[in-house]
Symmetry: C2
Subunit: 345 residues, 2 copies
């Protein structure tokens, strides 16, 4: 049996050991997470995302310092694109730790993609579970990529920070549009550079266009959304504030911290914190069910029937949708999603 006591009482070595087990998908991780999960739900999860070149990493470092000065313990999870080709995380923990080394109230962990995004989203959630149980007040979840999936990882948080910077070009503007709707706090970083005022104006105009819509998960969530879900709509609506920072000069960071605290207070007062928690955990439950059910099906299928279906697909004799229905039905009698106009199989 896993004893969570060392982690709960602040033993950093025990915490690091479990995080490594999580990242390696070690069999011990499962029992540890089950034991730690009971002690979660206290941390304030802050997602930080934004296009490449916006200076997210510097900003997260400065934010962690200001949060420490305000007496909070802080964990940073940096979700890095990585590669077996180049090996390991690009933003090394050692570089990140330079300004924060020796402070036991700060814990920084980089997570590498290693080619499996589904796996990364799951292990990020598990790392956050362990850090929450370990008692950190603030957990900053920073994603380096600018894709939809990275945004999904960041918005598993309670408060989502979207970082912009001037002069990142048209592609970045396009990406930004997808980020705006998930932002609880908007930041134009590198505000000392040319184009900062234009970036502020453009963001403000976008915000004025309307309230953010409902939050969407990559794979949908299973129950009906609570009426309180939806970023800023509804009673006591939160209007995302727009701030300027120059992270490398530590400018604007205390104001940013205050905005994040105000959002946290809003979430608590409105009951939205519980809604976001529910959304996040339900998403995790759905993902785990998908993987478990697929593994169960594959383990129980007649030997060769999966390969036979695949060969028929490759020969273009069977389309993937119908093949999936046949395989699912042969085991479980699953009949959902069937097209009534299809001939009998």
């Amino acid at each position: 049996m896993f004893d969570p006591t060392p982690i709960l009482s602040g033993n950093r070595r025990a915490l690091a050991r479990v995080l490594t087990q999580i990242e390696n998908s070690a069999p011990e991780a499962e029992a540890a997470l089950a034991a730690l999960f009971a002690h979660t739900g206290r941390a304030h999860l802050v997602g930080v995302t934004g296009p490449p070149g916006s200076g997210k990493s510097s900003l997260v470092n400065e934010l962690a310092k200001v949060m420490r000065s305000a007496g909070r313990t802080v964990a940073v999870v940096a979700v890095d694109p990585s590669s077996p080709f180049t090996g390991g995380a690009i933003l090394g923990d050692r570089i990140r730790m330079r300004d924060l080394a020796g402070d036991p109230g700060v814990f920084i962990r980089s997570m590498a993609t290693r080619g499996s995004l589904g796996g990364l989203a799951r292990s990020t959630a598990e790392v956050v579970t362990a850090l929450d149980a370990a008692g950190f007040d603030k957990i900053l979840i920073e994603t380096v990529g600018a894709g939809q999936a990275e945004v999904d990882i960041a918005r598993a948080a309670h408060t989502v920070l979207v970082i912009e910077a001037p002069g990142l070009g048209d592609d970045v503007q396009a990406i930004k549009a997808g980020l705006l709707e998930v932002a609880d706090v908007l930041v134009v970083n590198k505000a000392d550079q040319p184009g900062a005022d234009a970036a502020m104006r453009a963001l403000r105009a976008s915000l004025d266009l309307g309230h953010p819509g409902t939050r969407h998960w990559a794979d949908g969530h299973l129950s009906s959304p609570s009426p309180k879900l939806g970023g800023g709509s509804g009673k006591g609506a939160w209007v995302p504030p727009l701030l300027q920072t120059v992270a490398v000069q530590s400018k604007g960071i205390p104001e940013l911290r205050e905005a994040i605290e105000r959002h946290h207070a809003h979430l608590l007062a409105s009951g939205e914190l519980a809604d976001r928690d529910r959304e996040r955990l339900e998403h995790e439950l759905g993902q785990r069910l998908r993987e478990l059910l697929l593994a169960g099906l594959l383990a129980r299928l007649e030997p060769g029937s999966y390969d036979a279906a695949l060969e028929q697909i490759l020969a273009r004799q069977l389309d993937p949708a119908r093949a999936a229905r046949q395989l699912a039905r042969s085991e479980y009698g699953v009949r959902v999603g069937e097209d009534p106009s299809s001939p009998a199989l």
Copy 2:
């Protein structure tokens, strides 16, 4: 019953109608795709990805023109980050069509994210199925985002083009590392700008580090990988060529087209084309099975048992992994992935 004849014989209006049904997940789409799938497998699928600011869209347009001049029919699928907040795809079809308007041998379609990445990957695959059946020789699949998921969409293709550009900053360098391993052809676009030589040198050094590793899917694929899988390793290994282009001046595009054709010839000669086809279709089968099995479980669970499990999770009385096992087992007797050290449930 859906009659595929108009699409197979080149009726663009019929094609557009089915693509709209696919994007809207209309019920009619399923029968259409089942009928069209039998006529696929002839197109050469070319994925185009790279960080924001690399000039992918201009390059894809120029490439389409050069391919047309060489007598090939071309379809372009532009996978755009988008948002209910800003509404619709950012790279509008109309802008893209400017240089290619009136040519019936070109077909351009933008696909919007609309907040659901799982849905986007599926509908992109379905759009490619319809375009393949419609007889296009080359299908260019362009992803605008720079995240792992966007890379996964691009590398569902037979030939993967990775676009770089000088001076995109450190974040982009980090993202680039994750792209390198999936590249079949590498391009430094905007090669007339300062830093192009440095970018070329850095890429060449990275390439010299070693051969690309095995291709990884976001969610893994189900059967053992074929020994021929793996980008460039193995017999008759393909060494990704490194090219320079200035897309806005149409420079270097014919050479790029030739490199893409050489890779296609390599895939055909080595048998790797069939391997990549298998990998792509098996991934699709797995995704469809996951969704089907989950829908089946939810439809068959005792009313309230899913909600009860979720409430226990929210109360931190039950962790998501165990909850998923309980729900799966209660219906199907699924026992896979169970931790033998867990107490009986």
